[in-house]
């Protein structure tokens, strides 16, 4: 039986019921959300289940939604079933003031690098990560630059005259 978005959804609903919600299929890619405490359980099931077999973690990234109070940071996992060649997207949301999410490093070795990167840019605290330190930015950086409360432009720059750029 070929794996389709419908069968994946059916399997996950049987296993987790209402714990998985916000189902959608943007551009044909099955997307769903769960509680952040359940992220490892869901990933483990997706990994272990003999029909699902999502054994390749393509990407982890975060998204900052400042307007969603209490669930500002989304951590997004992209998973790939290499046998059936099908991809899914799995999201968990967390409060920006307490951005603790369980680390997937025990399950996927590739999560090590990507969780460090996500921590570096968004400050998501991956609980259980073996070495959660900055990976791309300078070590002495004291903020998380991709969060939207920080300006994108470098604040130390002195030669940029706003008048020249048509700004007030």
């Amino acid at each position: 039986m070929a794996l389709t978005n419908g069968t994946i959804r059916q399997q996950l609903t049987e296993k987790f019921g209402e714990e998985i919600y916000d189902w959608s299929e943007p551009y044909g890619m099955l997307t769903f959300t769960s509680h952040k405490d359940l992220n490892l359980k869901v990933l483990q099931h997706l990994f272990d289940d003999p029909t699902l077999q999502f054994r390749f973690l393509t990407d982890i990234c975060a998204v900052h939604y400042p307007e969603k109070k209490g669930a500002e940071l989304a951590v997004v996992y992209h998973l790939h079933n290499l046998v059936e060649n099908i991809r899914i997207r799995f999201k968990v949301f967390t409060d920006v003031n307490k951005p603790d999410v369980f680390s997937a490093t025990a399950l996927y070795a590739s999560a090590n690098w990507m969780e460090r990167e996500t921590y570096d840019f968004y400050g998501v605290n991956f609980v259980g990560h073996p070495n959660l330190v900055r990976i791309l930015n300078a070590d002495e950086m004291d903020y998380f630059p991709m969060r939207k409360e920080y300006p994108l432009e470098e604040q130390t720059r002195v030669d940029k005259d706003d008048e020249m750029f048509g700004r007030d």
Binding site: N137, M141, Y150, E154, T156, D159
Partner: protein, 196 residues
Amino acid sequence: MARPVRFNIHPKETNIHDNIAIADMPEGSQGGGYFATNFEKIVGLARKNSIWPLPFATSCCGIEFMALMASHYDLARFGSERVSFSPRQCDLLMVMGTIAKKMAPIVKQVYLQMAEPRWVLAMGACASSGGIFDSYAVLQGIDQIIPVDVYVPGCPPRPEAVLDGFIKVQDLVGKENLRRRNSERYKELMNSYGIQ
């Protein structure tokens, strides 16, 4: 059958007096068998015509630098035949390209490894001011970490522009006071960058 000739159909007669650049003689007094001049002028003349550049090329300006070093623009004409990749032997640090904040300590270390007297040329908008990369990750001009002698604007600058900047460096080198590097003002400048 003769091959059709398309190039060099009117070859120039070579004239050694036109083709070899000879540095002007410094001021001085001369007579039969002697020439006396200022020591500083001789040192300046020697230094400015044998600048060894250290290319620190991180992006597209580095590609322009390759054109500059190649036969068409030929920086070797100005006494910079030897591009050295050892900072200890170099006179001129040419920083070409975007310097990320993580790269900044390395640029500074390369600068510190160079022996005095040393000069710095910032090539292109990124090295001079951060350029279009007005972002949290990019150093907004290398003059935040090391003193710069000549800035070459452009994104990237054409090789002619870099040649012009290089000639300006030569000018600075040739006119530099031999005691400048021991002066209080120079020490102040170095201290303002936290060097020594």
